[in-house]
Subunit: 423 residues, 2 copies
């Protein structure tokens, strides 16, 4: 099965209106192509699992069933297990957020948190403010509830708060249902919101009375510079989404949400409707992993691995990419964002890149409105440094080829048409 | 945290319109009360895990990580793992449904299937046809998409198809978005849809061009009588929901959906937006459990256990319950449905029952509109036979006490007022 297959649909016209806005994730569609053995993938943001202590996790899995099977295999509470929420309390304290376990619910990855918040807050036509570009999974989750997503540009210091202020002034108090932000090593842009901008963002959110959703999957994967306090550490009303996918393993589908109680109560109702409760089996396994292994050491090793890969990518970009392309310099996380001249279309380029054995995600996937066509997200998290070097070299050749076609025009003073139709 | 706590909500008025219709599950709210050690619970439909071969499941869990950790701990496909879908193909073949693995997607329990189908099909005000009473989790899942749920009465042979036909004639062709039915050992009524009614239901669905959703969590837990083919075995267009929660363990949160491809493609998009993908960890564990253990023997033992408990409940009801109360005689599954005289209110009764150390779910939880107040769902799946006998005795005393109050009136020829206000 699959979305690409063309099948006569006798149910056409019978689906909910929201489904016209729900689109397939370009990232997930790329997974199939990326499975070719010689393919170097900068596409998916899949964490490296090489450093995960398999024996220890296997023991946690076995013991979860052997010693806690009566609860691990049974239905659980919708909020999540107290022991895992206690672990999350510790994790939050380590990044500067003190809160009781009661302020936390366990979700099926941070993605479920996004879906539940959209379900709880969004009526069709409501405004959501997000960074542009932003996480494709957030756009997907939101789109089912038919909001109008307003994108605020970023620079090297994260979301441009001056532009946010302009949008807020235009929309007025309570003019948006929420502001969605990924302050640390943003997906896809790789930039981090400056501390003074965090404070200003929160002031503006208070002034305009708009809830803030802070999505922080990569916060603990910092390669350089000092820890920047999350928004939630500065303001108790911030809704915070965390995940075990990047500090442990995505295969357990475990994340969490912290939010003020009235919001959490609504989210909990939405969660009951969505799946009754999360997997107790996965939760007990995670509890035992965090209680019984030196997970901080594992995380440090993982961070070193990602740092090496980031370095490999930045060096390769410096060495091979044409002068016409610029890119971000992430201090952590998974992603570099590259911007080509406006007349180049990353979607067209992708087909050629795949032929040359390298994939990435075209920038337009990260906007609700087709912007970002001349951009690409380059994930450095999954490939080894040597493969990163080779992949960037291949990609540079593809871009060079295409730029070469235009250089003659440019030299002649003619402006090339934008590829792939209207931008 | 919890929905019962009263907190000033400064976000009041800012939630989506759909949240006004989403209510808490009375069943889940009862879980807290049911955790008193001396409490005998007929409330939750929690499967008995006593027969689950803990060592074998623990080995499956360990091996999932040890030998397949690279995929079990990673993100997976949204459709679900091919190996688990192959297992599901076998399970479906055993109940008379032959279909390729491509027609199946893995969900987080059947509950996620209900949520995704509602998301894909329902606009506010759309009509859904269901049995009345029906599964509380389905009502909860649907309510977030604001449909008008029309309930069709049942008798000992399941949904009354004559009444369904009346509703369909009233609504006209395509007058409902779908018909939702639990044909086997219905939750909460315990009745099973007769074979000839299954055929007629499908004819009518074709005639009025309305999709049918068949929810079949209990189908393999039959105590007596012959297997009745599922609707999906009679019509390829039926959307079928299955679950591992009752034949293996709910703690893994694994279920499945089969549907025609165009519908499945939409559901898959909705699933990506909801949680990206299911837990590969849980899926690999289930694959190994079904491949490596004598799970059919476990299921046979489980079915015997439930049959004994059903027998214990039916005997106790016969012996202790007042003549004014009637109840169903399920041939399988988890539930008996009891109906008291109309002037008794099961919600009021529940408070007294809890004081006497026994719980159940009041009937109104299973209707969208407050009907069923004089009814109760009695789950026999979780308590041991001796506890069932004791619990029914306690419950009978509570009902007797209350009936006694009214018998004097009735003898005097006066009609008692309905308890608890308007029915």
């Amino acid at each position: 099965m699959g979305t690409a297959r063309i099948v006569f649909d006798r149910w056409d016209g019978r689906y909910a209106a929201r489904m016209t806005d729900v689109r397939s994730s370009a990232v997930r569609d790329l997974f199939a192509a990326a499975s070719r053995p010689d393919m170097i993938s900068f596409a998916g943001g899949m964490p490296d699992l090489g450093g995960v202590p398999t024996e220890a996790v296997a023991a946690a899995a076995r013991d979860a069933v052997l010693y806690e099977g009566a609860t691990a295999l049974q239905y659980g509470s919708s909020e999540g297990r107290p022991a895992l929420r206690a672990t999350i309390v510790e994790l939050m304290a380590e990044i500067g957020v003190r809160l009781p376990a009661d302020d936390i619910i366990v979700t099926a990855g941070a993605q479920q948190g996004l879906d539940l918040l959209a379900k709880v807050f969004l009526d069709p036509g409501d405004v959501v403010i997000a960074e542009g570009p932003t996480y494709v999974g957030a756009l997907q989750a939101f789109s089912a509830y038919q909001p109008d997503v307003v994108c605020v540009e970023m620079d090297h210091g994260g979301m441009r708060i001056d532009l946010l202020e302009v949008e807020l002034a235009r929309l007025g108090p309570r003019g948006a249902k929420f502001i969605y932000t990924i302050p640390n090593f943003q997906n896809p842009a790789g930039v981090t919101l400056l501390p003074e901008r965090r404070r200003r963002l929160l002031e503006l959110a208070r002034e305009y009375d708009i809830p803030v959703i802070e999505d922080d999957p990569y916060g603990r994967l910092r390669f350089e510079g000092g820890h920047v306090k999350p928004l939630r550490a500065l303001d108790d009303d911030v809704i915070y989404l965390g995940t075990f996918s990047k500090i442990f393993a995505p295969g357990l589908r475990l994340g969490w949400m912290t939010a003020p109680h009235p919001i959490l109560a609504k989210v909990l109702l939405a969660k009951q409707a969505a799946d009754l409760c999360g997997s107790a089996y996965a939760q007990v396994t995670a509890e035992r992993y965090f209680a019984g292994t030196r997970w901080r050491r594992v995380l440090q090793g993982l961070t070193r691995t990602y740092a090496e890969r980031r370095d490999a990518m930045l060096s390769a970009l410096e060495e091979h990419f044409p002068a016409e392309v610029s890119w971000t310099h992430p201090e952590g996380g998974f992603f570099v964002w590259a911007e080509m001249p406006e007349f180049l279309d990353a979607n067209t380029l992708l087909a050629e890149a795949v032929e040359h054995g390298v994939t990435f995600v075209p920038g337009s996937a990260f906007y609700p409105d087709g912007r970002g066509r001349n951009c690409m997200r380059l994930a450095f998290c999954y490939a080894e440094p040597a493969a990163i070097e080779a992949g960037i070299r291949r990609l540079a050749e593809v871009i060079e080829d295409r730029l070469g076609l235009y250089r003659a025009f440019i030299t002649a003073g003619a402006l090339p048409a934008v590829e792939g139709g209207a931008a």
